[in-house]
């Protein structure tokens, strides 16, 4: 088996696992996300359990995984190294949160929703990809 075939198969499986987690948890349902964000209305605290479960598993799992000298299928770990708090780290998440609060979708759940083909999803996903492209283009221009 070539390395590329293994990588494709592994990523397909990881995407499926991640997506099943999003669907089972309710995170892929914008109505549930918007109710989580509606502290003073129809508050549904379920998504705190999603975040809690994911973060606790990742907290311990990352420590086990990175105790190895290298990952199993790559030469080295690619860890983010920046620690500075710049304007982009405030502006970007601020805009992201507004969009999340308007539509109830963040990127992962929006992608899991494509096949269900709700009109709102089919409007959201191309706009999201266009927004991503715009941010990358602007960032590249700023250097």
């Amino acid at each position: 088996m070539s390395g590329k075939f293994v990588s494709v198969a592994v990523n397909l499986g990881l995407g499926l696992l991640f997506g099943v987690g999003l669907v089972v948890s309710g995170m892929s349902n914008p109505a549930k996300v918007l109710n989580f964000l509606d502290l003073f209305g129809t508050f549904d605290p379920s998504l705190a359990f999603v975040m809690g479960g994911a973060v606790v598993v990742a907290f311990f799992g990352f420590r086990l995984a990175t105790a190895r000298p290298a990952p199993l299928l790559a030469e080295r770990f690619h860890m983010p190294t920046r620690t500075d708090i710049d304007a982009r780290l405030i502006v970007g998440p601020a805009l992201f949160g507004i969009g999340w609060g308007l539509g109830g979708f963040c990127p992962g759940p929006a992608l899991t929703a494509i096949g269900l083909a709700a009109p709102g999803t089919l409007a959201f996903v191309p706009a999201m990809l266009a927004g991503m492209w715009a941010a990358r283009s602007l960032a590249a221009r700023q250097g």
């Binding site: 590329k4 990588s7 990523n11 499986g13 990881l14 995407g15 696992l17 099943v20 987690g21 999003l22 089972v24 309710g26 892929s28 914008p30 109505a31 964000l37 509606d38 379920s46 359990f49 975040m51 479960g53 606790v56 598993v57 799992g61 190895r68 990952p71 199993l72 299928l73 080295r76 690619h78 860890m79 983010p80 708090i85 405030i90 998440p93 601020a94 805009l95 992201f96 949160g97 969009g99 999340w100 308007l102 539509g103 979708f105 963040c106 990127p107 992962g108 929006a110 992608l111 899991t112 096949g115 009109p119 709102g120 959201f124 999201m128 266009a130 927004g131 991503m132 960032a139 590249a140």
Partner: protein, 141 residues
């Protein structure tokens, strides 16, 4: 109203965490969806395009796999297309501009105790809460 589902949500969240851990163990990378989705288009930056396409294919297949087990796949999406386009633009631009979204910052970053991810997650949670408050209780309601 949506039903409070602590058990399913905790279980689903643990699957998300498991996927992120396996991504780190196998590929040595952060499972950040905005990073994966934004680099489906050029410039790719590295040789990982086929892997990213496969990961997204797995995400797209997920609700059908869940449905095939007989479990309900519940989803209510706004049919206000102008609102959803605006939301999509903001989510796409903001997640890439801020170097991550709910997965990269909210799950992987918090688990790594990254200072940047704590800031980013705090900011998008705050504007998310504020936006729903404005839309439902000041404008709508």
């Amino acid at each position: 109203m949506t039903e409070f589902t602590p058990v399913a949500s905790l279980a689903g969240g643990m699957l998300i965490g498991l996927s992120a851990v396996l991504m780190m163990l196998l590929e040595g990378r952060i499972a950040g969806i905005s990073g994966i989705a934004s680099r489906l288009f050029p410039p790719y930056g590295d040789g990982g395009l086929a892997g990213r396409r496969a990961f997204v294919a797995g995400l797209v297949a997920a609700p059908f796999v869940v449905a095939a087990t007989g479990a309900p796949v519940m989803q209510t999406v706004s049919s206000n297309l102008v609102l959803m386009i605006a939301a999509g633009l903001l989510v796409g631009f903001g997640s890439v501009w801020g170097s991550g979204c709910t997965s990269g910052h909210g799950v992987c970053g918090l688990a790594r105790l990254s200072r940047r991810s704590f800031v980013a997650t705090g900011v998008f949670m705050a504007t998310g809460f504020a936006t729903v408050f404005v839309m439902r209780h000041l404008i709508g309601g």
